[in-house]
Symmetry: C2
Subunit: 181 residues, 2 copies
DNA sequence: CCTCAAGACTTCAACAGTAAAGTTCGAGGC
DNA sequence: GCCTCGAACTTTACTGTTGAAGTCTTGAGG
C-alpha cells in the first residue's frame, strides 16, 4: 500500500523551469494551480495512510461517505452511487462486491421492484465511517493549523469562488475520476 | 474518454449533511477541504477534455511535462521519471511503450552504460507539450478570471502555507498517485 | 395476455496500475 | 579473470476500472 517516495523539484524551481521553457507563463496563476495540485495529492496520501490503519481504502471510504450523506437508513442503489462517485456501474458492482464481502454494506434486491438493488450500510460500515471521519477531521484541522480563523475563511471563500466558475463552465462534470489522476 | 455525468449535492448541502451526521465537524475547515477536493476534480476534468482534443491523455501529459522540466535535451531514465510521477517502474515501462508507439518519445539503451535506458522527447512530443501548455494556460487563466490580482496572490500564498505544512509532515510523499482517487 | 422497449444492474474482454520475481549489465573482491 | 552483488529496467500475476454486450424485470401497447 505504501509506495516509493515521490521526488519532485520544489514549487519555486518548477515554476522557474516552466518560465524558462514557456515564456508566456503567468507565474501567479501557475503558483495557484501548482499548489492546488500538489496540496490535493498530499492530502490524498494523508487520507490513504490514515484509512489504511482502519483497514479500508480511499475508494471504500468514498462509498461510506456517500451512503452516510444520504442520511438514515443509509441506502442507495448501485447506479446512484456510481453517478455520485463518477464511476461506471460496472466498477460499482465490483466495489460493492468487495465491501459486502468485508461486511461494510449489504446488497439486496428491492422486493418492491426487483430490477433495483439496494446497498445499505451495515453497523460495521457506519462505525468505520465514524472512525474514519474522526481521523479525517483531526488531519484536516492539523492541515490548517498555521492559518488563523480569518485566513481559513478567506481561503474557503476564494476557493468557492473559483469552484463556482468551473462548475458553471462544466455543469455536469462529465468524465470520470480516472480522468483525474 | 468522456464519461457519465457526476451528480453530487451542492457544497452547502453536503456540509449541512455532514453536520447533521457528525456534530463535531468544523464547517470552516470542511468548507476549505471540500472545495479543494471538488476544485481539483473539476480542473482535472477540464485538463482531460482539452488534452483529448490533442489526442493525448492526462497520463501522457504528465510525462511530457516532466521531460520538458528537465530542460534540453529533454532526456531522462524511466526510473527517474517514475520517481517524479510517483509511479512504479513497471507502470513507467508500459507508459513509455505506448508513448514511444505514438511517437511522442524515443526509448534507447544508453550506450555508455547498457543497464540504463534513455527516454527522450521527440519533436512531435515537444510540439504536443507546447500545444497542451497553451491550452492549459488559457484554461487556468480563465479559471481565475473572477479573482483580482491581489486575490490571486492571497490565494497562492495561503495554499503554499498549507502545502508547506503537509510537506513537512510528509517529507517523502510516500504512496503513489493511485492512492489518490 | 403477449410482446417488446427501456431501465438497472451484471458479465466480459481489454487496459493501466502494483508488487514481486526475473533479467541484464557493471563494478568489486578474491 | 571469474564470481557475486547491486542497480536499472522488464516480465508476470493480480487488482480495479472502462466500454460494450448480456440478463432480468417492469410497464406500455396491441
Amino acid at each position: 500500500m505504501t509506495g516509493p517516495a515521490i521526488q519532485e523539484p520544489s514549487l519555486d524551481e518548477q515554476i522557474a523551469a516552466y518560465q524558462r521553457e514557456y515564456g508566456d507563463l503567468d507565474p501567479q496563476v501557475e503558483k495557484v494551480v501548482s499548489a492546488l495540485g500538489r496540496l490535493n495529492r498530499r492530502m490524498n496520501v494523508g487520507y490513504g495512510r490514515q484509512l489504511a490503519t482502519l483497514g479500508i481504502t480511499n475508494a471504500e471510504w468514498e462509498v461510506l461517505k456517500t451512503l452516510v450523506l444520504a442520511g438514515a437508513p443509509y441506502r442507495m442503489g448501485p447506479g446512484e452511487l456510481a453517478k455520485r462517485l463518477g464511476l461506471t456501474p460496472a466498477a460499482m458492482t465490483h466495489r460493492i462486491d468487495r465491501m459486502a464481502g468485508e461486511g461494510l454494506v449489504t446488497r439486496d434486491r428491492d422486493e418492491s421492484n426487483r430490477v433495483r438493488v439496494i446497498v445499505e450500510l451495515t453497523d460495521e460500515g457506519r462505525t468505520k465511517w465514524l472512525e474514519a471521519m474522526r481521523m479525517a477531521s483531526d488531519f484536516e484541522g492539523d492541515l490548517l493549523q498555521d492559518l488563523s480563523a480569518d485566513e481559513r475563511g478567506v481561503l474557503g471563500e476564494l476557493l468557492i469562488r473559483v469552484l463556482r466558475r468551473v462548475e458553471d463552465a462544466q455543469p455536469d462534470a462529465g468524465g470520470r475520476l480516472s480522468d483525474l489522476d
